[in-house]
Subunit: 197 residues, 2 copies
Amino acid sequence: MNYPQGTRGIRQQNKTRRNNRASYSNRGMTLEEDINVTNLYYLEKAKANIHKKPTPIQIVNVRYPRRSAAVITEAYFQAKATTDYNGIYRGKYIDFEAKETNNTTSFPFSNVQVHQIEHMRSVQNLGGISFLIVRFTSLNETFYYPIENLLTHWDKMHKGGRKSLPYKQIKEEGYKIPFTYHARVDYLPIIDQLYFS
Amino acid sequence: MNYPQGTRGIRQQNKTRRNNRASYSNRGMTLEEDINVTNLYYLEKAKANIHKKPTPIQIVNVRYPRRSAAVITEAYFQAKATTDYNGIYRGKYIDFEAKETNNTTSFPFSNVQVHQIEHMRSVQNLGGISFLIVRFTSLNETFYYPIENLLTHWDKMHKGGRKSLPYKQIKEEGYKIPFTYHARVDYLPIIDQLYFS
């Protein structure tokens, strides 16, 4: 097969990376890295324009050394007000949170913050497409979990229900996201199925 | 009139702020502050969910003092890959850049970066709603400038055309954004008019 130079470069890098890691782990890249690579692929193919939002940081001190770039010398991480990823697909607003867990039997709700859930609820109410991507790292399985189910179980928890989502339930109510070479977390076909078919 | 406590508080703060500033400037808040207040108002009214993206920062060193929050001790500003604001309105993806200029006769294209324009072009191609908000600070006028016109004149510039957008042209092709008390840059009604009527 012929690949353009760029793709061969990335292919080679990934191969090297995978080989380097093979001795101590088969997991490959983190979920965040996989989603970033996927989003870049979608962008290059002009299918979608979805980005990870930068981490919000409160800057306290900046130095301006002569002839060089400004250096931030004191800053603090701020709490996120929203989710990790947003962007556009087929004209629609897309907004999601992505989480990994080492747990093999359930996804603890403690992994998600209340303001993230409320942000996703707001997106849903405004007609956007919101969801959770959950990876069970040890099982090497990644799921698209719909916002409707997430909100239902979250609200139940606040009335005394379970503090986690069982793996079985995520498997039943969610959609397993296939791993393909270019789109390592190929979530757009699931959106096609749920919202555009 | 009766306002809820929260609103009265903000009202009072703004009043104080305006009075404090009155001695050296009548301009009030910056465009960014005005847009943030407007977006907060839209969010509270459940009309739209639109946020300023955090500034991307490359973190080089972090210290973890005992019993206190992590301190970033070396970091650098990174170039923005996209625009300043994005979010959702009426199910649609919204993405825009906002710029102020002290210039009274034109808006220089040098205020906008090539990757910001290309990002907006991509959003437009994917069916989203993208535009430029320009404030002529000295004239105290703020305009919604449509993406179609922006791309046309940008592309002309790269074929040897003007390196700026004349104020007169922005006034003709754009839409003056009204200033209202709660929505200081009330741009949603213009989107209604252009995309939903």
